[in-house]
Symmetry: C2
Subunit: 308 residues, 2 copies
Protein backbone atom coordinates (compact mmCIF):
# COMPACT_ATOMS: atom_id res chain seq x y z
CA UNK A 1 0.00 0.00 0.00
CA UNK A 2 1.58 3.21 -1.15
CA UNK A 3 -1.05 5.46 0.25
CA UNK A 4 -3.97 7.51 -0.90
CA UNK A 5 -3.44 11.07 -1.98
CA UNK A 6 -5.89 13.83 -2.77
CA UNK A 7 -4.49 16.72 -4.82
CA UNK A 8 -6.51 19.92 -4.45
CA UNK A 9 -5.87 22.34 -7.30
CA UNK A 10 -4.57 20.13 -10.06
CA UNK A 11 -3.15 22.72 -12.45
CA UNK A 12 0.40 22.46 -13.79
CA UNK A 13 2.07 21.88 -10.41
CA UNK A 14 -0.64 19.69 -8.88
CA UNK A 15 -1.06 17.64 -12.04
CA UNK A 16 2.67 17.12 -12.41
CA UNK A 17 3.36 15.98 -8.86
CA UNK A 18 0.16 13.96 -8.80
CA UNK A 19 1.39 12.15 -11.90
CA UNK A 20 4.77 11.48 -10.26
CA UNK A 21 3.14 10.07 -7.13
CA UNK A 22 0.77 7.92 -9.19
CA UNK A 23 3.75 6.57 -11.11
CA UNK A 24 5.22 5.55 -7.74
CA UNK A 25 2.11 3.48 -7.04
CA UNK A 26 0.02 5.85 -4.93
CA UNK A 27 -3.71 6.07 -5.48
CA UNK A 28 -4.01 9.70 -6.52
CA UNK A 29 -7.28 11.60 -6.84
CA UNK A 30 -7.59 15.20 -7.94
CA UNK A 31 -9.85 18.19 -7.38
CA UNK A 32 -9.70 20.39 -10.44
CA UNK A 33 -12.01 23.18 -11.40
CA UNK A 34 -11.30 24.60 -14.84
CA UNK A 35 -10.18 21.38 -16.54
CA UNK A 36 -12.69 19.11 -14.79
CA UNK A 37 -14.56 18.01 -17.92
CA UNK A 38 -11.47 17.18 -19.88
CA UNK A 39 -9.52 15.52 -17.07
CA UNK A 40 -12.43 13.37 -15.89
CA UNK A 41 -12.64 11.92 -19.39
CA UNK A 42 -9.01 11.78 -20.49
CA UNK A 43 -6.82 12.26 -17.41
CA UNK A 44 -3.52 14.10 -17.74
CA UNK A 45 -0.82 13.93 -20.35
CA UNK A 46 2.66 14.75 -19.01
CA UNK A 47 5.43 15.61 -21.45
CA UNK A 48 8.89 15.90 -19.99
CA UNK A 49 12.32 15.86 -21.63
CA UNK A 50 13.90 14.55 -18.46
CA UNK A 51 11.28 12.13 -17.22
CA UNK A 52 9.60 10.97 -20.39
CA UNK A 53 5.98 11.24 -21.46
CA UNK A 54 3.17 9.45 -19.71
CA UNK A 55 -0.54 9.41 -19.00
CA UNK A 56 -1.88 9.98 -15.51
CA UNK A 57 -5.43 8.72 -14.85
CA UNK A 58 -6.49 9.91 -11.38
CA UNK A 59 -8.44 7.46 -9.19
CA UNK A 60 -11.17 10.06 -8.72
CA UNK A 61 -11.62 13.37 -10.53
CA UNK A 62 -13.63 15.81 -8.43
CA UNK A 63 -14.97 19.32 -8.61
CA UNK A 64 -14.71 19.89 -4.85
CA UNK A 65 -12.90 18.22 -1.97
CA UNK A 66 -16.22 17.33 -0.27
CA UNK A 67 -16.95 14.88 -3.09
CA UNK A 68 -13.97 12.71 -2.14
CA UNK A 69 -15.27 9.21 -1.28
CA UNK A 70 -12.23 7.93 0.57
CA UNK A 71 -9.82 8.68 3.37
CA UNK A 72 -6.58 10.23 2.16
CA UNK A 73 -3.22 9.78 3.83
CA UNK A 74 -2.16 13.10 2.33
CA UNK A 75 -4.14 16.01 1.03
CA UNK A 76 -1.80 18.12 -1.08
CA UNK A 77 -2.95 21.67 -1.75
CA UNK A 78 -1.50 23.07 -4.97
CA UNK A 79 -3.73 26.08 -5.68
CA UNK A 80 -2.30 29.54 -6.13
CA UNK A 81 -2.22 31.75 -3.06
CA UNK A 82 -4.32 34.65 -4.27
CA UNK A 83 -7.11 36.87 -2.98
CA UNK A 84 -10.47 35.17 -3.35
CA UNK A 85 -9.20 31.64 -2.72
CA UNK A 86 -9.97 30.52 0.82
CA UNK A 87 -7.38 27.81 1.32
CA UNK A 88 -8.90 26.50 4.55
CA UNK A 89 -12.37 26.00 3.10
CA UNK A 90 -10.91 24.56 -0.07
CA UNK A 91 -9.47 21.58 1.78
CA UNK A 92 -11.44 21.12 5.00
CA UNK A 93 -14.09 18.80 3.56
CA UNK A 94 -11.46 16.53 2.00
CA UNK A 95 -9.86 15.63 5.33
CA UNK A 96 -10.46 12.71 7.65
CA UNK A 97 -8.92 12.38 11.11
CA UNK A 98 -5.86 10.64 9.67
CA UNK A 99 -5.09 12.96 6.77
CA UNK A 100 -1.84 14.90 6.79
CA UNK A 101 -1.91 18.23 4.96
CA UNK A 102 0.82 19.21 2.55
CA UNK A 103 0.86 22.34 0.44
CA UNK A 104 3.02 23.06 -2.57
CA UNK A 105 2.63 26.78 -3.01
CA UNK A 106 4.61 29.93 -3.62
CA UNK A 107 5.09 32.81 -1.25
CA UNK A 108 6.40 33.67 2.18
CA UNK A 109 4.46 33.85 5.44
CA UNK A 110 1.63 31.76 4.02
CA UNK A 111 1.65 29.11 6.76
CA UNK A 112 -0.14 30.87 9.58
CA UNK A 113 -3.68 30.55 8.25
CA UNK A 114 -3.34 26.77 7.88
CA UNK A 115 -1.56 26.35 11.23
CA UNK A 116 -4.37 28.25 12.92
CA UNK A 117 -7.14 26.28 11.21
CA UNK A 118 -5.59 22.84 11.72
CA UNK A 119 -3.53 23.03 14.92
CA UNK A 120 -3.53 19.31 15.69
CA UNK A 121 -2.62 17.95 12.31
CA UNK A 122 0.68 17.22 10.59
CA UNK A 123 1.36 20.10 8.21
CA UNK A 124 3.99 19.78 5.50
CA UNK A 125 5.14 22.90 3.69
CA UNK A 126 6.32 22.30 0.14
CA UNK A 127 8.09 24.26 -2.56
CA UNK A 128 8.39 23.27 -6.19
CA UNK A 129 11.48 24.44 -8.07
CA UNK A 130 10.15 23.64 -11.45
CA UNK A 131 9.39 25.04 -14.86
CA UNK A 132 6.19 23.42 -15.95
CA UNK A 133 3.21 24.88 -17.78
CA UNK A 134 -0.30 23.76 -18.55
CA UNK A 135 -0.35 24.07 -22.33
CA UNK A 136 -3.88 22.73 -22.88
CA UNK A 137 -6.61 21.14 -20.72
CA UNK A 138 -4.99 18.19 -18.91
CA UNK A 139 -1.78 18.69 -20.87
CA UNK A 140 1.29 19.59 -18.81
CA UNK A 141 4.67 20.38 -20.28
CA UNK A 142 7.60 19.93 -17.93
CA UNK A 143 10.36 22.20 -19.22
CA UNK A 144 13.13 22.05 -16.64
CA UNK A 145 13.99 21.18 -13.05
CA UNK A 146 11.43 19.68 -10.75
CA UNK A 147 12.94 19.60 -7.31
CA UNK A 148 10.36 19.45 -4.58
CA UNK A 149 11.44 20.65 -1.13
CA UNK A 150 9.34 19.47 1.81
CA UNK A 151 9.48 20.33 5.47
CA UNK A 152 7.19 19.69 8.40
CA UNK A 153 5.87 22.74 10.22
CA UNK A 154 5.22 20.66 13.33
CA UNK A 155 8.14 19.36 15.44
CA UNK A 156 7.03 15.74 15.21
CA UNK A 157 5.57 14.67 11.89
CA UNK A 158 5.64 10.90 12.56
CA UNK A 159 7.86 10.40 9.50
CA UNK A 160 5.17 11.64 7.14
CA UNK A 161 7.37 14.18 5.32
CA UNK A 162 9.99 11.52 4.72
CA UNK A 163 7.38 9.06 3.45
CA UNK A 164 6.00 11.63 1.00
CA UNK A 165 9.53 12.42 -0.14
CA UNK A 166 10.25 8.73 -0.75
CA UNK A 167 7.05 8.31 -2.75
CA UNK A 168 7.89 11.26 -4.93
CA UNK A 169 11.43 9.97 -5.46
CA UNK A 170 10.08 6.52 -6.36
CA UNK A 171 8.06 8.23 -9.12
CA UNK A 172 11.23 9.71 -10.56
CA UNK A 173 10.99 13.07 -8.82
CA UNK A 174 13.85 14.99 -7.25
CA UNK A 175 12.66 15.57 -3.72
CA UNK A 176 14.43 16.65 -0.55
CA UNK A 177 13.63 17.41 3.05
CA UNK A 178 14.46 20.88 4.35
CA UNK A 179 15.28 21.23 8.01
CA UNK A 180 14.25 24.90 7.84
CA UNK A 181 11.41 25.06 5.35
CA UNK A 182 10.70 28.68 6.28
CA UNK A 183 14.23 29.58 5.16
CA UNK A 184 13.65 27.54 2.01
CA UNK A 185 10.54 29.61 1.35
CA UNK A 186 12.58 32.83 1.61
CA UNK A 187 15.16 31.25 -0.64
CA UNK A 188 12.60 30.57 -3.32
CA UNK A 189 11.33 34.12 -2.90
CA UNK A 190 14.83 35.35 -3.81
CA UNK A 191 14.06 34.26 -7.37
CA UNK A 192 10.33 34.95 -7.43
CA UNK A 193 10.48 38.49 -6.03
CA UNK A 194 12.38 39.95 -8.98
CA UNK A 195 11.43 37.74 -11.91
CA UNK A 196 7.69 37.39 -11.38
CA UNK A 197 6.83 41.10 -11.15
CA UNK A 198 9.47 42.20 -13.67
CA UNK A 199 8.06 39.83 -16.26
CA UNK A 200 4.59 41.34 -15.80
CA UNK A 201 5.60 45.00 -15.42
CA UNK A 202 7.90 44.85 -18.44
CA UNK A 203 4.92 43.84 -20.52
CA UNK A 204 5.95 40.22 -21.01
CA UNK A 205 9.72 39.76 -21.08
CA UNK A 206 11.13 36.28 -20.42
CA UNK A 207 13.69 35.70 -17.67
CA UNK A 208 16.73 35.80 -19.98
CA UNK A 209 15.93 39.23 -21.37
CA UNK A 210 15.27 40.63 -17.90
CA UNK A 211 18.57 39.31 -16.59
CA UNK A 212 20.58 40.44 -19.60
CA UNK A 213 19.16 43.95 -19.44
CA UNK A 214 18.91 44.61 -15.67
CA UNK A 215 21.15 42.19 -13.79
CA UNK A 216 22.18 44.83 -11.25
CA UNK A 217 18.59 45.66 -10.40
CA UNK A 218 17.68 41.96 -10.14
CA UNK A 219 20.59 41.43 -7.73
CA UNK A 220 19.56 44.42 -5.61
CA UNK A 221 16.04 43.01 -5.25
CA UNK A 222 17.44 39.58 -4.34
CA UNK A 223 19.65 41.14 -1.65
CA UNK A 224 16.63 42.86 -0.13
CA UNK A 225 14.91 39.47 0.27
CA UNK A 226 18.08 37.98 1.79
CA UNK A 227 18.21 40.80 4.34
CA UNK A 228 14.58 40.25 5.37
CA UNK A 229 15.13 36.49 5.67
CA UNK A 230 18.20 37.01 7.86
CA UNK A 231 16.47 39.56 10.07
CA UNK A 232 13.54 37.20 10.53
CA UNK A 233 15.86 34.49 11.85
CA UNK A 234 16.36 32.49 8.66
CA UNK A 235 19.71 33.56 7.19
CA UNK A 236 20.30 32.21 3.69
CA UNK A 237 23.65 30.85 2.47
CA UNK A 238 26.11 33.59 1.47
CA UNK A 239 26.05 32.58 -2.20
CA UNK A 240 22.27 32.57 -2.60
CA UNK A 241 22.10 35.56 -4.95
CA UNK A 242 25.00 34.31 -7.04
CA UNK A 243 23.47 30.85 -7.40
CA UNK A 244 20.11 32.27 -8.41
CA UNK A 245 21.69 34.49 -11.04
CA UNK A 246 23.73 31.58 -12.43
CA UNK A 247 20.73 29.24 -12.43
CA UNK A 248 18.68 31.79 -14.35
CA UNK A 249 21.48 32.43 -16.84
CA UNK A 250 21.47 28.74 -17.76
CA UNK A 251 17.70 28.27 -17.78
CA UNK A 252 15.89 28.32 -21.08
CA UNK A 253 14.10 31.68 -21.58
CA UNK A 254 11.12 31.21 -19.32
CA UNK A 255 7.79 32.89 -18.86
CA UNK A 256 7.17 33.19 -15.11
CA UNK A 257 3.99 31.84 -13.54
CA UNK A 258 2.91 35.38 -12.72
CA UNK A 259 3.29 36.38 -16.36
CA UNK A 260 1.23 33.38 -17.47
CA UNK A 261 -1.46 34.31 -14.94
CA UNK A 262 -1.35 37.91 -16.16
CA UNK A 263 -1.61 36.96 -19.83
CA UNK A 264 -4.52 34.65 -19.11
CA UNK A 265 -6.38 37.17 -16.99
CA UNK A 266 -6.04 35.12 -13.78
CA UNK A 267 -5.29 36.62 -10.37
CA UNK A 268 -1.59 36.97 -9.60
CA UNK A 269 0.37 35.96 -6.46
CA UNK A 270 1.32 39.57 -5.69
CA UNK A 271 0.44 39.37 -1.99
CA UNK A 272 2.00 35.96 -1.32
CA UNK A 273 5.29 36.88 -2.97
CA UNK A 274 5.70 40.66 -2.59
CA UNK A 275 3.09 41.87 -0.11
CA UNK A 276 4.06 39.38 2.58
CA UNK A 277 7.78 40.11 2.09
CA UNK A 278 7.22 43.88 2.39
CA UNK A 279 5.04 43.42 5.48
CA UNK A 280 7.68 41.18 7.08
CA UNK A 281 10.27 43.91 6.48
CA UNK A 282 7.99 46.52 8.02
CA UNK A 283 7.50 44.42 11.15
CA UNK A 284 11.29 44.13 11.40
CA UNK A 285 11.84 47.86 10.76
CA UNK A 286 13.85 47.03 7.67
CA UNK A 287 14.09 49.14 4.51
CA UNK A 288 13.25 47.37 1.25
CA UNK A 289 12.63 50.22 -1.20
CA UNK A 290 12.94 48.11 -4.35
CA UNK A 291 10.48 45.49 -3.13
CA UNK A 292 8.15 48.29 -2.04
CA UNK A 293 8.43 49.77 -5.51
CA UNK A 294 7.59 46.47 -7.19
CA UNK A 295 4.73 45.88 -4.78
CA UNK A 296 3.27 49.37 -5.34
CA UNK A 297 3.58 48.93 -9.10
CA UNK A 298 1.93 45.51 -9.07
CA UNK A 299 -0.94 46.96 -7.01
CA UNK A 300 -1.33 49.72 -9.60
CA UNK A 301 -1.19 47.18 -12.43
CA UNK A 302 -3.91 45.13 -10.73
CA UNK A 303 -6.00 48.26 -10.14
CA UNK A 304 -5.76 49.07 -13.83
CA UNK A 305 -6.80 45.52 -14.75
CA UNK A 306 -9.79 45.72 -12.41
CA UNK A 307 -10.87 48.97 -14.06
CA UNK A 308 -10.60 47.78 -17.65
CA UNK B 1 7.44 95.11 -33.97
CA UNK B 2 6.78 92.24 -31.65
CA UNK B 3 9.48 90.02 -33.01
CA UNK B 4 9.85 86.99 -35.19
CA UNK B 5 9.69 83.57 -33.65
CA UNK B 6 10.43 80.15 -35.08
CA UNK B 7 8.93 77.22 -33.17
CA UNK B 8 10.74 73.93 -33.83
CA UNK B 9 8.62 70.92 -32.92
CA UNK B 10 5.09 72.27 -33.02
CA UNK B 11 3.19 69.51 -31.25
CA UNK B 12 0.87 70.22 -28.33
CA UNK B 13 3.32 72.40 -26.38
CA UNK B 14 4.92 74.15 -29.35
CA UNK B 15 1.58 74.77 -31.04
CA UNK B 16 0.00 76.11 -27.88
CA UNK B 17 2.75 78.58 -26.97
CA UNK B 18 3.18 79.55 -30.62
CA UNK B 19 -0.51 80.39 -30.69
CA UNK B 20 -0.19 82.50 -27.52
CA UNK B 21 2.77 84.43 -28.93
CA UNK B 22 1.00 84.99 -32.25
CA UNK B 23 -2.00 86.31 -30.33
CA UNK B 24 0.38 88.82 -28.74
CA UNK B 25 1.35 90.06 -32.17
CA UNK B 26 4.54 88.13 -32.85
CA UNK B 27 5.19 86.74 -36.31
CA UNK B 28 5.32 83.04 -35.50
CA UNK B 29 6.49 80.35 -37.89
CA UNK B 30 6.56 76.64 -37.12
CA UNK B 31 8.55 73.55 -38.04
CA UNK B 32 6.32 70.53 -37.71
CA UNK B 33 6.87 67.06 -39.03
CA UNK B 34 3.91 64.77 -38.55
CA UNK B 35 1.13 67.36 -38.95
CA UNK B 36 2.85 69.35 -41.70
CA UNK B 37 0.23 68.72 -44.41
CA UNK B 38 -2.71 69.59 -42.22
CA UNK B 39 -1.15 72.61 -40.49
CA UNK B 40 0.18 74.18 -43.71
CA UNK B 41 -3.37 74.17 -45.06
CA UNK B 42 -5.47 74.89 -41.96
CA UNK B 43 -3.15 76.14 -39.23
CA UNK B 44 -3.90 75.26 -35.60
CA UNK B 45 -7.15 75.22 -33.68
CA UNK B 46 -6.68 75.89 -29.96
CA UNK B 47 -9.50 75.01 -27.55
CA UNK B 48 -9.08 76.20 -24.00
CA UNK B 49 -11.61 76.57 -21.21
CA UNK B 50 -9.53 79.31 -19.61
CA UNK B 51 -8.27 81.22 -22.63
CA UNK B 52 -11.01 80.67 -25.17
CA UNK B 53 -10.86 79.08 -28.61
CA UNK B 54 -8.94 80.53 -31.49
CA UNK B 55 -7.21 79.81 -34.77
CA UNK B 56 -3.47 80.18 -35.14
CA UNK B 57 -2.18 80.58 -38.70
CA UNK B 58 1.64 80.47 -38.62
CA UNK B 59 3.54 82.93 -40.85
CA UNK B 60 5.48 80.00 -42.36
CA UNK B 61 4.86 76.29 -41.94
CA UNK B 62 8.03 74.30 -42.55
CA UNK B 63 9.23 70.72 -42.58
CA UNK B 64 12.74 71.62 -41.43
CA UNK B 65 14.41 74.63 -39.83
CA UNK B 66 16.68 75.14 -42.87
CA UNK B 67 13.64 76.13 -44.93
CA UNK B 68 13.05 79.21 -42.80
CA UNK B 69 13.27 82.30 -45.04
CA UNK B 70 13.73 84.91 -42.36
CA UNK B 71 15.78 85.88 -39.34
CA UNK B 72 14.15 84.93 -36.05
CA UNK B 73 14.59 86.84 -32.81
CA UNK B 74 13.81 83.62 -30.95
CA UNK B 75 14.01 80.02 -32.00
CA UNK B 76 11.95 78.01 -29.50
CA UNK B 77 12.66 74.27 -29.43
CA UNK B 78 9.66 72.26 -28.22
CA UNK B 79 10.48 68.72 -29.34
CA UNK B 80 10.58 65.84 -26.90
CA UNK B 81 13.98 64.95 -25.46
CA UNK B 82 14.28 61.35 -26.60
CA UNK B 83 16.88 59.09 -28.15
CA UNK B 84 17.06 59.55 -31.88
CA UNK B 85 16.31 63.29 -31.84
CA UNK B 86 19.47 65.36 -32.30
CA UNK B 87 18.42 68.67 -30.77
CA UNK B 88 21.47 70.56 -32.02
CA UNK B 89 21.01 69.57 -35.66
CA UNK B 90 17.30 70.14 -35.44
CA UNK B 91 17.75 73.85 -34.80
CA UNK B 92 21.16 74.87 -36.17
CA UNK B 93 19.99 75.74 -39.67
CA UNK B 94 17.16 77.91 -38.36
CA UNK B 95 19.50 80.33 -36.58
CA UNK B 96 21.00 83.61 -37.74
CA UNK B 97 23.62 85.55 -35.79
CA UNK B 98 20.94 87.43 -33.85
CA UNK B 99 18.70 84.52 -32.88
CA UNK B 100 18.30 83.66 -29.20
CA UNK B 101 17.55 80.02 -28.45
CA UNK B 102 14.83 79.02 -26.04
CA UNK B 103 13.74 75.48 -25.29
CA UNK B 104 10.54 74.35 -23.62
CA UNK B 105 11.28 70.75 -22.76
CA UNK B 106 10.98 68.25 -19.95
CA UNK B 107 13.79 66.61 -18.06
CA UNK B 108 16.80 67.41 -15.91
CA UNK B 109 20.41 67.88 -17.03
CA UNK B 110 19.37 68.51 -20.63
CA UNK B 111 21.15 71.87 -21.01
CA UNK B 112 24.73 70.81 -21.54
CA UNK B 113 24.47 69.68 -25.14
CA UNK B 114 22.99 73.03 -26.22
CA UNK B 115 25.43 75.05 -24.11
CA UNK B 116 28.31 73.18 -25.71
CA UNK B 117 27.02 73.60 -29.25
CA UNK B 118 26.08 77.29 -28.94
CA UNK B 119 28.48 78.80 -26.40
CA UNK B 120 28.17 82.41 -27.55
CA UNK B 121 24.42 82.68 -27.81
CA UNK B 122 21.68 83.61 -25.38
CA UNK B 123 20.10 80.37 -24.18
CA UNK B 124 16.77 80.41 -22.39
CA UNK B 125 15.63 77.29 -20.58
CA UNK B 126 11.86 76.89 -20.35
CA UNK B 127 9.40 74.63 -18.55
CA UNK B 128 5.71 74.35 -19.31
CA UNK B 129 3.41 73.46 -16.40
CA UNK B 130 0.49 72.63 -18.55
CA UNK B 131 -2.05 69.95 -19.39
CA UNK B 132 -2.56 70.15 -23.11
CA UNK B 133 -2.94 67.40 -25.67
CA UNK B 134 -2.92 67.18 -29.42
CA UNK B 135 -6.29 65.54 -30.06
CA UNK B 136 -6.12 65.60 -33.87
CA UNK B 137 -3.79 67.08 -36.53
CA UNK B 138 -3.42 70.79 -35.74
CA UNK B 139 -6.01 70.51 -32.98
CA UNK B 140 -4.76 71.26 -29.47
CA UNK B 141 -6.90 70.95 -26.36
CA UNK B 142 -5.72 72.97 -23.39
CA UNK B 143 -7.08 71.23 -20.29
CA UNK B 144 -5.58 73.03 -17.33
CA UNK B 145 -2.76 75.27 -16.16
CA UNK B 146 -0.34 76.75 -18.62
CA UNK B 147 2.37 78.47 -16.62
CA UNK B 148 5.58 78.86 -18.54
CA UNK B 149 8.75 79.30 -16.48
CA UNK B 150 11.73 80.82 -18.27
CA UNK B 151 15.29 81.38 -17.14
CA UNK B 152 18.47 82.37 -18.94
CA UNK B 153 21.38 79.94 -18.74
CA UNK B 154 23.83 82.74 -19.50
CA UNK B 155 24.55 85.41 -16.88
CA UNK B 156 23.69 88.28 -19.22
CA UNK B 157 20.77 87.66 -21.54
CA UNK B 158 20.32 91.29 -22.67
CA UNK B 159 16.76 91.27 -21.39
CA UNK B 160 15.71 88.60 -23.86
CA UNK B 161 14.10 86.28 -21.27
CA UNK B 162 12.05 89.15 -19.92
CA UNK B 163 10.98 90.21 -23.42
CA UNK B 164 9.83 86.68 -24.24
CA UNK B 165 7.97 86.52 -20.94
CA UNK B 166 6.20 89.81 -21.69
CA UNK B 167 5.19 88.62 -25.14
CA UNK B 168 3.75 85.41 -23.74
CA UNK B 169 1.87 87.34 -21.04
CA UNK B 170 0.51 89.75 -23.66
CA UNK B 171 -0.97 86.71 -25.44
CA UNK B 172 -2.80 85.71 -22.26
CA UNK B 173 -0.20 83.26 -20.98
CA UNK B 174 0.90 82.86 -17.40
CA UNK B 175 4.64 83.26 -17.63
CA UNK B 176 7.32 83.91 -15.03
CA UNK B 177 11.07 84.27 -14.82
CA UNK B 178 12.97 81.85 -12.59
CA UNK B 179 16.19 83.05 -11.02
CA UNK B 180 17.33 79.42 -10.74
CA UNK B 181 15.91 77.63 -13.75
CA UNK B 182 17.97 74.51 -12.95
CA UNK B 183 16.16 74.25 -9.61
CA UNK B 184 12.87 74.82 -11.45
CA UNK B 185 13.75 71.89 -13.69
CA UNK B 186 14.26 69.64 -10.64
CA UNK B 187 11.03 70.98 -9.24
CA UNK B 188 9.12 69.94 -12.33
CA UNK B 189 10.83 66.56 -12.16
CA UNK B 190 9.33 66.09 -8.69
CA UNK B 191 5.99 65.61 -10.43
CA UNK B 192 7.20 63.95 -13.62
CA UNK B 193 9.41 61.31 -11.98
CA UNK B 194 6.54 59.49 -10.27
CA UNK B 195 3.52 60.16 -12.45
CA UNK B 196 5.00 59.65 -15.89
CA UNK B 197 6.48 56.18 -15.35
CA UNK B 198 3.70 55.01 -13.00
CA UNK B 199 1.08 55.85 -15.60
CA UNK B 200 2.91 53.71 -18.16
CA UNK B 201 3.97 50.84 -15.89
CA UNK B 202 0.49 50.54 -14.38
CA UNK B 203 -0.83 49.91 -17.86
CA UNK B 204 -2.56 53.26 -18.27
CA UNK B 205 -3.85 54.67 -14.99
CA UNK B 206 -4.59 58.39 -14.80
CA UNK B 207 -2.96 60.58 -12.15
CA UNK B 208 -5.93 60.52 -9.75
CA UNK B 209 -6.06 56.73 -9.52
CA UNK B 210 -2.28 56.52 -9.00
CA UNK B 211 -2.40 59.07 -6.20
CA UNK B 212 -5.42 57.55 -4.51
CA UNK B 213 -3.91 54.07 -4.54
CA UNK B 214 -0.21 54.73 -3.85
CA UNK B 215 0.22 58.17 -2.30
CA UNK B 216 2.97 56.99 0.05
CA UNK B 217 5.01 55.56 -2.81
CA UNK B 218 4.50 58.71 -4.89
CA UNK B 219 5.72 60.84 -1.97
CA UNK B 220 8.79 58.63 -1.47
CA UNK B 221 9.75 59.06 -5.13
CA UNK B 222 9.26 62.82 -4.90
CA UNK B 223 11.51 62.98 -1.83
CA UNK B 224 14.26 61.16 -3.71
CA UNK B 225 14.17 63.86 -6.40
CA UNK B 226 14.26 66.60 -3.73
CA UNK B 227 17.33 65.01 -2.15
CA UNK B 228 19.17 64.87 -5.49
CA UNK B 229 18.25 68.49 -6.25
CA UNK B 230 19.51 69.64 -2.85
CA UNK B 231 22.75 67.65 -3.15
CA UNK B 232 23.38 69.14 -6.58
CA UNK B 233 23.18 72.66 -5.16
CA UNK B 234 19.57 73.47 -5.99
CA UNK B 235 17.54 72.89 -2.82
CA UNK B 236 13.79 73.04 -3.39
CA UNK B 237 11.32 74.72 -1.02
CA UNK B 238 10.45 72.58 2.01
CA UNK B 239 6.81 72.19 0.94
CA UNK B 240 7.54 71.02 -2.62
CA UNK B 241 6.25 67.48 -2.15
CA UNK B 242 3.14 68.65 -0.31
CA UNK B 243 2.32 71.21 -2.99
CA UNK B 244 2.75 68.65 -5.77
CA UNK B 245 0.47 66.19 -4.02
CA UNK B 246 -2.17 68.86 -3.43
CA UNK B 247 -1.95 70.13 -6.99
CA UNK B 248 -2.43 66.61 -8.34
CA UNK B 249 -5.34 65.93 -6.00
CA UNK B 250 -7.18 68.91 -7.48
CA UNK B 251 -6.25 68.30 -11.10
CA UNK B 252 -8.75 66.59 -13.35
CA UNK B 253 -7.76 62.92 -13.90
CA UNK B 254 -4.97 63.32 -16.38
CA UNK B 255 -3.10 61.08 -18.78
CA UNK B 256 0.59 61.96 -18.56
CA UNK B 257 2.58 62.87 -21.64
CA UNK B 258 4.60 59.68 -21.24
CA UNK B 259 1.42 57.60 -21.21
CA UNK B 260 0.18 59.34 -24.36
CA UNK B 261 3.53 58.66 -26.03
CA UNK B 262 3.37 55.03 -24.89
CA UNK B 263 -0.18 54.54 -26.15
CA UNK B 264 0.69 56.06 -29.50
CA UNK B 265 3.86 54.04 -29.92
CA UNK B 266 6.14 57.09 -29.74
CA UNK B 267 9.47 57.17 -27.91
CA UNK B 268 9.20 58.13 -24.24
CA UNK B 269 11.24 60.67 -22.23
CA UNK B 270 12.66 57.99 -19.95
CA UNK B 271 16.26 59.21 -20.13
CA UNK B 272 15.50 62.93 -19.78
CA UNK B 273 13.28 62.42 -16.74
CA UNK B 274 14.54 59.28 -14.97
CA UNK B 275 17.88 58.36 -16.48
CA UNK B 276 19.40 61.80 -15.97
CA UNK B 277 18.08 61.99 -12.39
CA UNK B 278 19.55 58.57 -11.52
CA UNK B 279 22.88 59.47 -13.11
CA UNK B 280 22.99 62.76 -11.19
CA UNK B 281 22.42 60.81 -7.95
CA UNK B 282 25.21 58.38 -8.86
CA UNK B 283 27.65 61.24 -9.47
CA UNK B 284 26.69 62.61 -6.04
CA UNK B 285 26.96 59.20 -4.34
CA UNK B 286 23.33 59.40 -3.35
CA UNK B 287 20.94 56.47 -2.96
CA UNK B 288 17.72 56.68 -4.96
CA UNK B 289 16.41 53.09 -4.98
CA UNK B 290 12.83 53.97 -6.02
CA UNK B 291 13.98 56.06 -8.98
CA UNK B 292 16.40 53.30 -9.93
CA UNK B 293 13.54 50.82 -9.79
CA UNK B 294 11.35 52.96 -12.02
CA UNK B 295 14.23 53.56 -14.41
CA UNK B 296 15.08 49.84 -14.64
CA UNK B 297 11.42 49.00 -15.19
CA UNK B 298 11.00 51.61 -17.90
CA UNK B 299 14.09 50.27 -19.64
CA UNK B 300 12.59 46.76 -19.51
CA UNK B 301 9.27 48.08 -20.81
CA UNK B 302 11.06 49.78 -23.71
CA UNK B 303 13.04 46.61 -24.41
CA UNK B 304 9.81 44.66 -24.59
CA UNK B 305 8.31 47.23 -26.97
CA UNK B 306 11.38 47.06 -29.21
CA UNK B 307 11.06 43.27 -29.37
CA UNK B 308 7.35 43.14 -30.20
Amino acid sequence: MNGKILIVGAGAIGGFYGALLARAGAEVSVVCRSDYDYVSRHGFQIDSHELGCWQFRPAQVLRQACEYQDSADYLILCSKVVAGIDRVNLIRAGLTAETAIAFIQNGVDIESELLAAFPDRVLISGLAYICCNRVAPGHIKHLAYGKLTLGALTPDDAGLSQRLRDLCAAGGGDCEISRDIVASRWQKCVWNAPFNPLSVLSGGLATQAILQSQEGFVRDIMHEICRIAAASGHPLPYDTVELNIERTRHMPPYKTSMLLDFEQGRPMETEAILGNAVRAAQRLNLECPRLQSLYALMRLRELQISQS
